[in-house]
Subunit: 308 residues, 2 copies
């Protein structure tokens, strides 16, 4: 059975949503702890404008400050050519380019329509490939609102596939289908994952779920049942869903790893080490996290028999 590949997104997707700036040294310490757990990749930061996302203004210090290991890929979000050049100067393994599948979400979140994003992608990919350190860098694209848009509702599969076609033509090597606001359900996930793998058999697809309506793990299960082995997940379930107030964030890494390991599906991740890293999050971010296994313990936890 193919081992899963987990891409940890808390340092980027999680920390940018927090109320407070997480000190750079704390970020580095957490990423270093995560690096030895067996995660395939860590989305370490975003080389976005410090004005746009002040919480990630320390992107360069984080990337150059962490301990690098050959067995964990360092991926970073890059929104534009300038960000790509800053990222490449830091030395990274993968860049993640983000765009929306729907116009209104693209404009609200990125100030770009999908068409404008694709133009941006072309410029970024050219800059990466022209850079002396950029030839070995893997280029991934995350497609927000692939399972629905919080403003427009349904996003047709034909639209998603048309955008993926454009991405691949530009040189994108892997695609992340994002359920940005937790709208996906398992039947829809199975349909889109099956169709995407059938239409683009050479493209590695990653699935990015939010647990907004409690379906995060059910959706991951449905995706895995179609052959998907790459998942984004966020330690502790950190991460925001700005359009669904009160809702939880990304699917929780340790809960996802726990489910698959309990099922006998190898994740390559040391769950105890991951849980230890998650346990320090409340101190780091100043609030409880939505992760459940870190509170309840693993399913094989045994309790002493209560005395009468």
């Amino acid at each position: 059975m193919t081992q899963l590949q987990i891409n940890e997104v808390a340092p980027r997707d999680g920390f940018q949503s927090e109320a407070s700036f997480i000190p750079t040294a704390d970020k580095i310490r957490l990423i270093d702890a995560l690096s030895v757990t067996g995660l395939a990749r860590i989305e370490t930061t975003s080389f976005v404008s410090p004005k746009a996302i002040p919480h990630l203004r320390d992107a360069a210090e984080v990337v150059t400050g962490i301990q690098r290991r050959t067995d964990v890929g360092i991926t970073v979000l890059v929104p534009n050519v300038k960000g790509a050049e800053r990222a490449l100067a830091g030395g990274i393994d993968e860049v993640n380019l983000v765009m929306s599948a729907s116009d209104s979400h693209g404009l609200a979140n990125l100030r770009m329509t999908p068409t404008q994003s694709l133009e941006q992608f072309a410029a970024i990919i050219e800059a990466v490939r022209d850079h002396p350190q950029g030839r070995a860098v893997f280029i991934n694209a995350s497609l927000s609102t692939s399972f629905g848009c919080p403003f427009e509702g349904e996003v047709p599969q034909a639209r998603v596939f048309e955008l993926i076609e454009h991405q691949l033509a530009l040189g994108v090597q892997g695609v992340t289908l994002c359920d940005t606001t937790g709208m996906a359900n398992p039947a829809q996930v199975a349909r889109l994952c099956e169709a995407a793998q059938s239409r683009f058999p050479d493209t590695p697809f990653t699935l990015h779920f939010h647990n907004t309506r409690g379906m995060g793990l059910a959706n991951a299960l449905a995706a895995w049942q179609t052959g998907i082995t790459r998942f984004d997940a966020s330690l502790g379930g950190l991460g925001g869903c700005p359009f669904a107030p009160g809702a939880t964030g990304n699917v929780c890494t340790e809960d996802l790893v726990h489910m698959f390991e309990q099922m006998g599906v190898a994740t390559g991740v040391d769950l105890d080490a991951l849980l230890a890293a998650s346990a320090i999050l409340p101190d780091l971010v100043g609030h409880e996290t939505p992760g459940q296994v870190v509170k309840a313990g693993k399913a094989d936890r045994q309790y002493p028999i209560p005395s009468r």
Copy 2:
């Protein structure tokens, strides 16, 4: 496609776990509101000793106080012959008998080993069938720790099936497989559900999940994929898990209904009416509930595009 049958357990499994007694009139009002949502059954209360569970001391008043409807079954937990006689006097459609699959959980929770519980079952079933109002009553048995015991760990499938054999021989008509402390994973659920339906093809099985480790909906999905159509669930996700402090309770009714309805699986339930009933729970129980759809809204909720 067969329509699901949802058995709402919050009035029993939920309210008995709350810190405070829910006033009888509030219970009746909630059950009456739930009765018109399309739920197949409501586990209304438990005819347990008021000393054992003071929060359900009003069992008789609740059962006789609610508005009865022909399209919703009123089921009650009965722990012994006395409870069964009190329940029958109130007029109910179904009795639910509870036992554990593991000795230590049975002794800790019910003060009875499974063998002792089966003796109790025999006496209760005889009392029900001998009662003038008892002939039409459906007899269900809930088998706790079917997916693992918090004290003993794994519970072998052979043990579960041996106990079900005994139950059916005594006159039990339906069996609920309970993941009492949220230990089950989707692969295990699929295995046990497939094997149980194959071994006991004439027995309606209900699945009872807890969301202790976040897998509640994933487990329900896995069960449904094997042909299971009957689920216990608790409004708001109320319900305790006394052996997993800090963990959430039963799988949440409205989140379960929402997932299946989004998938195109008919539940027969009016989700909006269910969400309205769930929205009053925090006032009733004095705390937030774990349910997520009641906070985030349904997946097809559309938001206004943010102004720049």
